[in-house]
Amino acid sequence: MTTTQSRAAALPLVISGVDRRFEGPSGTIHALANVDLTIAPSEIVSIVGPSGCGKSTLLRMVAGFDTPTEGRILLGGKPITAPGADRGIVFQHPQLYPWLNVFDNVVFGPRMRGVPRDVFTPAAERYIEIVGLKGFERHFPYQLSGGMRQRLQIARVLINEPNILLMDEPFGALDYQTRLEMQKLLLDLCLDIAPTVLFITHDIDEAVFISDRIYVMSARPGRIVEVLDVSLPRPRVFEEATTNEIFVKLRLQVLKALKH
């Protein structure tokens, strides 16, 4: 369970021709239309789109909670059939176990899957430190701030060394200051353990600041209307990046694509 191993194990995600329709009481709801999206290992890819455009639906299909009506989702060439610890999902509202302390929340997945204690304990200590919760191991979720709970949720999926992090508007419920801190944490993670990330947001600045590539989706039925490469150099610092002309130009392009 070392960094190099997890990096080597990272797999590309390929979404091709995905369509999703739901049968509702008032007829068929067409949520997603012909979505193509590719993420290479260690890439950070954002999906930006208006509320209800189906971007969460797409993420949930990658997580294995839902299946496409048409099209394929392949992780490392294999179709996704069920949820699994190889994909770490980070919800907007941290889904923690309120009866477990920070340490026990982090090791819950490995412990349940039968990973030996002497393997998961050092791993937990490492990831707790990486997300900045060192010293809070014995705290319970109710004793943590919103930002710290989100850090805990991230540590709880990182310990599984997933092929991809699926983040569903993870910083959307946090105050501005905390959101900036969390974005910095994510960028630091990229330098440190280089996870592959599929990131959903409706915050354009956030998408441009953290991503290697941005997919802009239309309103329902959600389809990809624009793909933008973010050529901002890394490491990125918020104050510098946001005044960079590449940043300014990109955010206008995203905005334009959203009005499409």
């Binding site: 997580a63 294995g64 909670f65 949820p83 699994g84 610890a85 994909r87 770490g88 999902i89 919800f91 509202h93 889904q95 923690l96 176990y97 309120p98 009866w99 819950f108 997945g109 349940m112 899957r113 319970f140 979720p141 109710y142 709880r156 999926v157 599984n160």
Partner: protein, 259 residues
């Protein structure tokens, strides 16, 4: 508004109770109370010592208490054993909920006392009918509360658990059970209180021993101080039982309602 410490309000409660008792003692000492129907503190005290030394109608006082507690706890225990699993099933299966809940919803508003004659007919005048009455009331309450607890678990928490690689069985025992524990324990505490309060009603069914029997029988013979002792004992034991369960709840569920 000025905020006072918990200790202040605690002291107020104790002081008011003490004042009420003093008022009662004072009024009866001054001869302002009709002693036959509203006995003075002294008479109640004498009735208690008589009960402690000689018992009531052939059974010592502690046997009366234990008989009532035995009935309440048997009915309550059975209700926990059957109501919690049933509640979990109803909370996790919409089909089960649709099939069984109509009966529970219909039964719940029926006052248990209305069932006494029927239960006597079904289960006889022995322990069966009394335990059955307590069981039914506690069972209905616990089942509904447990089901509500299971239904209150956020769906995303279950999804997050599946995503961490948990099996269905692990999700049940390590996520669903602990997550619904607040509702289960609150249900147990209230079901316990209900069970204990129902003892008197249950013991109206031709009991020969027990606090409810003592109260009804003593009333027949107009031994009002004894009736008071019976009522005060029921109240005191009820408080203790609830206190114990509340203590367990607070220890186990320190995390409740803070997320």
């Amino acid at each position: 508004m000025q905020t006072k410490s918990d200790g202040f309000y605690h002291t107020v409660s104790v002081a008011v109770v003490a004042l009420a008792l003093a008022l009662w003692g004072g009024l009866s000492a001054a001869g302002l109370l009709e002693t036959n129907t509203f006995p003075p503190v002294q008479a109640i005290w004498e009735a208690l010592s008589e009960l402690l030394t000689r018992g009531y109608s052939g059974s010592p006082f502690y046997v009366q208490i234990l008989a009532s507690m035995g009935r309440a706890l048997s009915g309550f225990g059975l209700a926990v054993l059957l109501g919690v699993p049933l509640g979990i099933w109803l909370g996790s299966s919409r089909l089960a909920d649709a099939m069984i809940s109509p009966f529970l919803t219909f039964m719940r508003p029926i006052p248990p006392i209305a069932l006494v004659p029927l239960f006597t007919f079904y289960f006889g005048i022995g322990e069966g009918s009394k335990v059955a009455l307590i069981f039914l009331t506690a069972f209905l309450y616990l089942t509904v509360n447990t089901a509500a607890g299971v239904k209150s678990i956020p769906h995303d928490l279950i999804l997050a658990s599946r995503s961490l690689g948990l099996t269905g069985r692990q999700i049940f025992s390590h996520v669903v059970l602990p997550a619904s524990l607040p509702h289960i324990l609150t249900g147990m505490r209230i079901a316990m209180t209900l069970s204990w309060a129902l003892v008197v009603a249950a013991e109206l069914i031709a009991a020969q021993v027990g606090l409810g029997y003592l109260i009804t029988d003593a009333t027949t013979f107009f031994r009002i101080p004894l009736v008071f002792v019976g009522i005060l004992t029921i109240g005191l034991i009820g408080l203790i039982l609830e206190g114990i369960l509340l203590m367990i709840e607070r220890r186990v569920l320190h995390w409740r309602g803070k997320q």
